[in-house]
Symmetry: C2
Subunit: 342 residues, 2 copies
Amino acid sequence: MERTEISSLGEFGLIHHLTKNIELKNVSSIVGVGDDAAVIDHFGKQTVVTTDLLIEGVHFDLIYTPLKHLGYKSVVVNLSDVYAMNAIPTQITVSIGFSNRFSLEALDEFYEGVYAACEAYGVDLVGGDTSSSQKGFIISVTAIGEAEPDKLVKRSTAKPGDLLCCSGDLGGAYIGLLFLEREKKVFLESPQALPDLEGEKYVIGRLLRPEARKDIIEFFEEKQILPTAMMDISDGLSSEILHICKQSNLGCVLYEEKIPIAEDTRNAAYKFEIDPTACALSGGEDYELLFTLHPSEYEKLTLNEQISPIGYMTEPELGAHIFTKGGARHKLTAQGWNAFNR
Amino acid sequence: MERTEISSLGEFGLIHHLTKNIELKNVSSIVGVGDDAAVIDHFGKQTVVTTDLLIEGVHFDLIYTPLKHLGYKSVVVNLSDVYAMNAIPTQITVSIGFSNRFSLEALDEFYEGVYAACEAYGVDLVGGDTSSSQKGFIISVTAIGEAEPDKLVKRSTAKPGDLLCCSGDLGGAYIGLLFLEREKKVFLESPQALPDLEGEKYVIGRLLRPEARKDIIEFFEEKQILPTAMMDISDGLSSEILHICKQSNLGCVLYEEKIPIAEDTRNAAYKFEIDPTACALSGGEDYELLFTLHPSEYEKLTLNEQISPIGYMTEPELGAHIFTKGGARHKLTAQGWNAFNR
């Protein structure tokens, strides 16, 4: 495979190479890459900003993460935060730091993923920074979006009696991680062994190539649904539910049997002898949406199979609890499996 | 000195600790830290966004960089980019990655500098990310600002005959770096030696605690001056002038004798037997503003001692040149001293 040293281009040559094909598509993107700063005009709407720092060895392992997937995911996890405000992402900036172990071809692969995400979600890359690093690959993405002021949804505005809902299915990304970590160990011990990922395509895809729930936000818009509170599920369902409880000053009831878990995730969890519910509660990296709704909206939800009502909000004095399939009641904790395994 | 392990707080405890005293001061800061994303309303103005990634061992050396200064500078270098668009910074996000060699007290020092910069420049910290890193300290700052659409100044809009000007004085930060690198070497060879930085306070301050030229942007506003092109000087004067030439498709004439260099910088340069002009042309990290003006604005400039006319823009066919004090003409190159030392 060809290897072009990045040093052969210089900093400005590299930036030009990585950004030369950008065509700004959003009317809000007034000035893109190439000046001291980008310029955005959301024309009377409010601007939403979120940022994430991703560090090799902490957030991702390049042994089993293709760079293209990494570029795609780095963008998606930020867009997920914009959607979680009920806003529409419009621009991103991407900064990367990389050691000399990375070739131009490697960076191209990463940016292929970045641009694929831009295309899929209709956002423009308008800025960033490139730098060398002493060790490893470092990614910082900032996502910018827009929303009508009265459409923004925070975490702190749920009300007692509201339905608690989530999108998609949960726990898959965590099981995907377990599989890849297991196969990494096997590979490091005997590099000639072929990875045994047969049948685990779904959970591995959940980890390596997550999507942000643009479709759910579009469904809300179409059906004129305004959640009372919302956030994305990046750290596991129970931790996120507790954020909404704390920030809205409420309690909640969660039903284990209502938590959506894909059949593939369930089967994979059993192979690891793990409770699939524990994966959903504490696994993380699912990038689904968690939201609360006034109960009068319940009917509208039945139109969308991608939305599951999983419980309801209560007065704060009642605390946050999960009812298990067996009918037992447990206090919900940030590490959901603790409650289960006690 | 006290040392609190960051692991004793947990991620959310740390974020709470670092952000608990924030009071949002800008009316444009609608939602700050604590939700999926920050929300900003620039009320009909355009939004300006810029971002920088700073990596230990590449952009800064903690042997001689106090963490408080580092926090201050990390913000300032981004604000400088916002001012360089003739815009007013309003919000920042700050993400950090740190290894376990950093204590809570160390992070507090860093954030003391971040908040000092927020205070000095009237911006709100509205978001960010905290993460562990396998090695070293990593900083990613995004700065957001606002401007009336017809006030924004790009790099690409200079015209032939425009005056070429810069703010403040140049070359100091580079000499400051040379001093600190020299004393670091001495220290590493004999740790009991006291640093000999006597009399170099000015140039060291230029490196470790730069300021962004808010005052110049305010002067423009007050005197109703609108530069025809502008950028900040972070990579050395000659490299930046060539950016304006290239992006405006022009040539230029620069006069060596007009380049503003502080007496302290000049004296320090002579100690290192370096040409002070070479430091200004190629030194970097000065964070002054470089801009072009219609010649009819010349009179207004004489009111501000912090602004130096250093040349003028020409038709592109004439190329970019510097006239030395001796009257010789050299082609301007990105590494300005090459032309000089040939």
